[in-house]
Symmetry: C2
Subunit: 229 residues, 2 copies
DNA sequence: CTTCAATTTGTACATATGTACAAATGATAT
DNA sequence: ATATCATTTGTACATATGTACAAATTGAAG
């Protein structure tokens, strides 16, 4: 069956918001993209802010559910290195690739979040605050178990960097293409997700004070880990 | 001597753009913040887009110069680990901390770049493209020398993640504070710069196919490094 | 077919924005 | 002091935007 106009409006809004942010996209832009009338947006959603709220409502819950599901699987892995890798993948992949129809994830929604978080619009701020990503705490805890002795400061900042990497990969993929002289495709999301997982794996692993279990020890002259020892 | 109104306007514009983006800030907002009249902006800069162009002109050159200077110093370090650390610091620090009056760097300008890059405004796009960060290539080259055998794909993506981490640390510092339960101050830029350098150090180091010079070898079961072997 | 509620369309309105420009003001040199 | 130029102010205008709402259309139940 044909999707309802309501759904088409929501979808168009995500696409446009992800591309140009919240302020720059007018309700008329959204209506035009959805092949509908301006008034229909007011009718279905009441206001622009509420339209955004519905977008979040629709996506965040299933996406977090998907993350929790993958995180649960990951936690059952006994080898700490493999486990860490799986945990990171559980966080990154749902944000990049929408597996099923209703998992709420995918690059477009994540890119929208990235753009809106940068924009700092007050409407958006309130909505983002409500839809706070409760999975983050669970992830940090899970990661912490893989890197014994890691200071909280290092863990939290690296989770921040992970999110920043994820966002920027979606916001500015052209930079990768350009910087590599066209050799690497910045829009290859599978590759991007893979690289983020590997890079953050290394950055988290370096926090561990214990030597790697599998090997003798990787004592690079790691500069002291800061105040929070 | 008192700064000219022209300078005050530029400074106010950076502050406001860094806070709310390009679209959301009106010329009247800028004028009010600078204690000037709307017309004075048109008089001094002609248009909003040109005001932004002047901001870039004023900042990018001295900031890149500072980066090149620090990079030059870093490259003279013989020990590859220390060198890598210094190279990363040379890239990150000018973006976070403005050392001298005219070095063009600092967190505010960098945050503005972050916000504008996410916003995708067409005025801004053109200007950003012109002020392309020519130092990035030099940095990747310098980094590559520290991690022999590293595939280009890994290097480029990690440089992307570095920039994303940097940007997001400035855009959303509250998340760090909140996520740590108030223990860690997301607005502590010295700490942020430090953490970024250390995290990206680890992520770049992990690309090296040769074992660490200082130690036996850090053969974590690193999953195969992708296509570009 | 008729009725009635749900939806869609069209339009109006108050407000905000970038830009243009004439008048007022200020400073500087002769 | 006066003339000349640079700056600042005030205002006007065309356009765009979020929202409200009445009229038109649609679709299903009786």
């Amino acid at each position: 069956m044909r999707p309802s106009i309501r759904d088409t409006l929501l979808k168009s809004a995500v696409t446009l918001f992800a591309l140009s942010g919240y302020n720059a996209v007018s309700l008329r832009d959204i209506a035009k993209a959805a092949g509908a009338n301006v008034g229909s947006i007011t009718y279905h959603f009441g206001s622009k802010a509420n339209l955004l709220r519905e977008i979040y409502d629709r996506h965040t819950k299933p996406m977090n559910a998907r993350r929790r599901e993958l995180l649960g699987e990951a936690r059952r892995i006994s080898n700490p290195e493999e486990r860490l890798m799986a945990i990171l993948r559980a966080y990154v992949v749902p944000a990049f690739i929408s597996s099923s129809e209703g998992d709420g994830g995918g690059a477009e929604f994540t890119r929208m979040r990235a753009v809106l978080s940068a924009e700092g619009n007050s409407d958006a701020r309130a909505i983002i605050a409500d839809a706070f990503d409760e999975t983050s705490h669970a992830f940090i805890d899970a990661v912490a178990e893989c890197v014994p002795g890691a200071p909280l400061e290092g863990l939290v900042w690296r989770s921040q960097f992970l999110l920043g990497s994820l966002y920027y990969a979606l916001i500015n993929p052209e930079r990768v293409t350009r910087l590599s002289g066209g050799v690497i495709d910045g829009n290859d999301r599978e590759a991007a997700a893979d690289q983020i997982v590997k890079a953050s794996y290394a950055s988290f692993r370096s926090l561990s004070v214990e030597p790697a279990k599998v090997d003798a020890g990787s004592h690079i002259p790691e500069p002291a880990q800061g105040k929070t020892a």
